[in-house]
């Protein structure tokens, strides 16, 4: 077993950081290739009281994959699709190791070409039927397709199409979890439910685990803020979104969905950003085939205009008229072109009623145009990352300041007004974009100096309080990780976070898994966040 554990060295230094650019520290790293190897490693580390940080593709935006001590368990080599089956309704389920990337899953589903050499007969039979069936896909679509399924499950990732298809949680039907002591739990949706706020289950080794669930209520909006808690909660939902704090996910089964016959994209530009909220409200009410509804403010559009001029990588961005002050981009997923056309024309009427113009739109009805809209959407966060990297190279010790908060539908306008007013008041450079259909906007502050960076962090904490008052969530799709764990104390209170610690202890009595994720240190202690903030140097 010792041969699986590599002491930390320069060769592995890249694994000390994730998408946040925060750099942690670690005693060593292992790359298990099977559940058996995970178990061997975890048993050894458990016996020696060594903490673990689970990693997939390290695309976390909240430093969930950054180790602060202990060993890294990197699952990127567990990237095999293990099998396929039909469910009782005739749908397809795909079983895989946690290191499979979203890109690879999408590729194999589209090409219908899986490496099935080691599959059992049931899987091969289902595969033969899948090849003859209409195309299917796995709906969750976080922007970063290099994300692994294990990572997506851990933070309950979502994406643009989460508006219609829901987050990753909805598509996960079974999991295998290796506890920190090496015991395993097989979890199938619907099989293990809590009674009220008490849940009991057995490990495959026969040990019964009882735990009392925290008493808080989930917000009335899209959320990945802490453990998923409700009366009679399903065990699988407790594990989904647990940010690597309950154990190591060693296997995932996902549900597939038929690809809609007709997919059209529409970019709706507004000359006045004020008109957007009403448009969103009406679109949600009337466009029943709308699969996503995304927003980009005027600053985001200016970033794109600048990138198109200055960077060859973004030269293929379409020309953006200077009169455009905001963009709402959406997709229509329809059973046929006739329905799509009806929805498109209805959308046009809604736009005109809300002060927009049908002529200020781009309609994407083929793959090439759809890809252009996706490129445009992804270009904004990518550009902001590049801007932050540029500032870091100039010596500014900062990381990206990015909110992930959401509110119930009726508070959308209030939230947007609050963001705009305060950002203007403090004179900060920023861009706002995100999933406006789910009232989940990402405010990105681009600090010009350390003082602005600190100001931005304080602003986020203030907003966390205000969003909580509106019944919203401080984390909606990125998980809390280490960077936003302290915001959970603002949202739920210190007592609730201690209850979360109690839940974690039932799974992980020594507190070894995902230390610092979800559960920030002691009440009032911001060292979790400070730890992150002070470790932003490059190797």
């Amino acid at each position: 077993m010792r041969e699986l554990l590599n002491p930390m060295s320069k060769q592995f230094s890249e694994y000390l950081r994730d998408e946040t650019r925060i750099v942690g520290w670690s005693e060593g790293i292992c790359f298990p290739t099977s559940e058996h190897e995970i178990i061997s490693v975890l048993k050894y580390l458990f016996d020696h009281d060594i903490a673990i940080t689970v990693q997939g593709a390290r695309t976390s935006l909240n430093a969930a994959a950054v180790p602060f001590g202990g060993y890294i368990v990197n699952l990127s080599k567990m990237n095999r699709i293990l099998g396929m089956r039909r469910d009782a309704q005739g749908g397809f389920r795909l079983r895989m190791q946690p290191g499979c990337t979203l890109r690879a899953i999408q590729r194999d589903l589209t090409s219908k070409n899986f490496s099935s050499n080691a599959w059992d007969q049931q899987s091969l039979d289902a595969y033969a039927e899948y090849k003859k069936a209409s195309p299917h896909f796995f709906p969750p679509d976080p922007t970063e397709t290099s994300a692994t399924i294990g990572g997506m499950v851990s933070c309950n990732a979502s994406g643009a199409k989460g508006y219609y298809y829901g987050p990753t949680r909805k598509w996960i039907t079974a999991l295998r979890l290796v506890l920190t002591n090496g015991e395993t739990v097989a979890i199938r949706r619907g099989e293990t439910l809590a009674t009220g706020r008490n849940i009991s289950f057995y490990t495959e080794q026969g040990r019964r685990i009882d735990c009392y669930l925290p008493g808080y209520d989930m917000p009335h909006s899209k959320s990945t803020a802490g453990y998923y808690i409700e009366d009679n909660v399903d065990l699988i939902d407790l594990v989904i979104g647990s940010d690597g704090t309950l154990g190591v996910i060693s296997e995932v089964e996902v549900m597939l969905f038929p690809v809609p016959e007709t997919i059209w994209g529409v970019a709706c530009f507004f000359r006045d950003e004020e008109k957007v909220v009403e448009f969103v409200m009406r679109s949600r009410e009337q466009l029943d085939r709308m699969a996503s509804l995304e927003f980009f403010d005027g600053n985001s559009l200016n970033i794109l205009r600048r990138q198109k001029e200055e960077s060859t990588a973004f030269a293929k961005l379409p020309y953006l008229d200077q009169r455009f002050a905001a963009l709402c981009s959406l997709e229509l997923h329809c059973p046929d072109e006739e329905t799509a056309l009806d929805q498109l024309l209805l959308l046009g009427r809604l736009l005109e009623q809300c002060g927009g113009k049908e002529s200020d739109t781009w309609v994407a009805r083929n793959e090439s145009d759809l890809q252009q809209l996706v490129f445009l959407r992804h270009a904004v966060p990518e550009s902001v990352n590049m801007m932050i990297d540029h500032k870091r190279k100039q010596g500014l010790d900062i990381i990206k300041l990015n909110t992930d908060m959401s509110v119930p539908n009726h508070h959308l306008g209030q939230m947007m007004t609050m963001y705009k007013r305060m950002l203007a008041e403090f004179g900060l450079e920023y861009a706002i974009w995100g999933h406006i259909g789910e009232n989940n906007l990402h405010v990105n502050i681009i600090p010009r100096n350390k003082a602005e960076y600190d100001q931005g962090k304080r602003l986020f904490e203030y907003w966390a309080g205000e969003i909580t008052k509106m019944g919203g969530a401080v984390c909606s799709e990125h998980g809390a990780g280490k960077l936003k764990a302290h915001l959970l104390r603002i949202m739920y209170g210190d007592a609730a976070v201690e209850e979360m610690r109690g839940l974690k202890t039932a799974f992980d009595p020594k507190g070894l898994a995902g230390v610092g994720n979800i559960i920030a240190n002691t009440p009032g202690d911001e060292s979790n966040e400070n730890n992150c903030m002070h470790q932003t140097g490059t190797l």
Partner: protein, 259 residues
């Protein structure tokens, strides 16, 4: 100004399938898209219409499903669209295609300019534009990079050749072909889609065009495809491990192998 834009449907995927019987590309309607070079041609036409006024007519020879692509050109800014479609057109090489297009275009009345893509991404011949101009008896210039000026009697274009730039002045009516990704084709708007619903794509068959049946389709094509195949590509990857010296040795060995 009346501008005609030639549109060709091409497979949307790189995975081209070939008919084992005659070696031609299997074109299944739903998978086809507008040839990317033709997108540049249409965008140039729309720009000229924006500055000079006039109308744009898109034409294509193809299977009935091609009407879907022509309808799309109407949503993006074309005013009329004509599809030359007949089973007897099937299997046409560039000569028979240019012949058919020339007959169709002659029946559209006077025009000022024809814009084509330089070539199609599936056939790669770049012959249709010049052949069509010859058959219509008009001046032409291939692979232009920019329209510099358009007057009532002439058009001036820029053309980049190996190491130099040419300014070419042509009398109207004329034909130009545009180079790769000449200009990104604009999206249609909702209002464009709405307007296009009222404009039919008009069909013309071999009889409508009064074609010489010996000059269309496979019969009218002197080109004979002897063999067509999809080249096999070898894919593979090697993990390079070990210390720096070992890795450097491995890389040298791989590079030597390539050389």
């Amino acid at each position: 100004m009346k501008i005609i834009v030639c549109i060709k449907p091409v497979p949307s995927s790189n995975e081209v399938r070939l008919d084992p019987q005659n070696g031609t590309i299997i074109r299944e309607g739903r998978e086809s898209v507008i040839n990317p070079f033709d997108e540049g041609a249409l965008e140039q036409a729309i720009k000229l219409k924006e500055t000079l006024g006039g109308e744009i007519v898109t034409v294509s020879m193809g299977i009935p499903d091609t009407a879907r692509l022509l309808k799309d050109t109407l949503a993006r800014g074309a005013d009329q669209a004509f599809l030359f479609s007949d089973r007897r057109f099937a299997g046409a090489d560039t000569l028979a295609t240019a012949y058919t297009l020339s007959l169709g275009i002659k029946r559209l009345g006077d025009f000022d300019l024809i814009i084509c893509g330089k070539m199609s991404i599936d056939g790669d011949t770049a012959q249709i534009g010049p052949e069509l101009a010859q058959m219509l008896g008009i001046a032409y210039c291939c692979n232009i990079s920019e329209v510099v000026d358009v007057g009532t009697t002439h058009i001036q274009c820029r053309r980049i050749t190996d190491g130099r730039t040419q300014l070419v002045r042509l009398p109207l009516p004329a034909l130009v072909t545009v180079g790769k990704r000449y200009d990104m084709l604009r999206f249609p708007s909702i209002s464009g889609v709405r307007q296009s619903l009222a404009i039919p794509v008009e069909n013309r068959n071999a009889l409508d065009l009064q074609t010489d049946l010996d000059r269309i389709g496979l019969n009218g094509s002197p080109t004979r495809v002897i063999r067509t195949f999809v080249p096999q590509r070898a894919h593979g990857s090697t993990e390079i491990v070990g210390d720096a010296n070992k890795q450097a040795e491995d890389i040298c060995r791989i590079v030597d192998g390539v050389r």
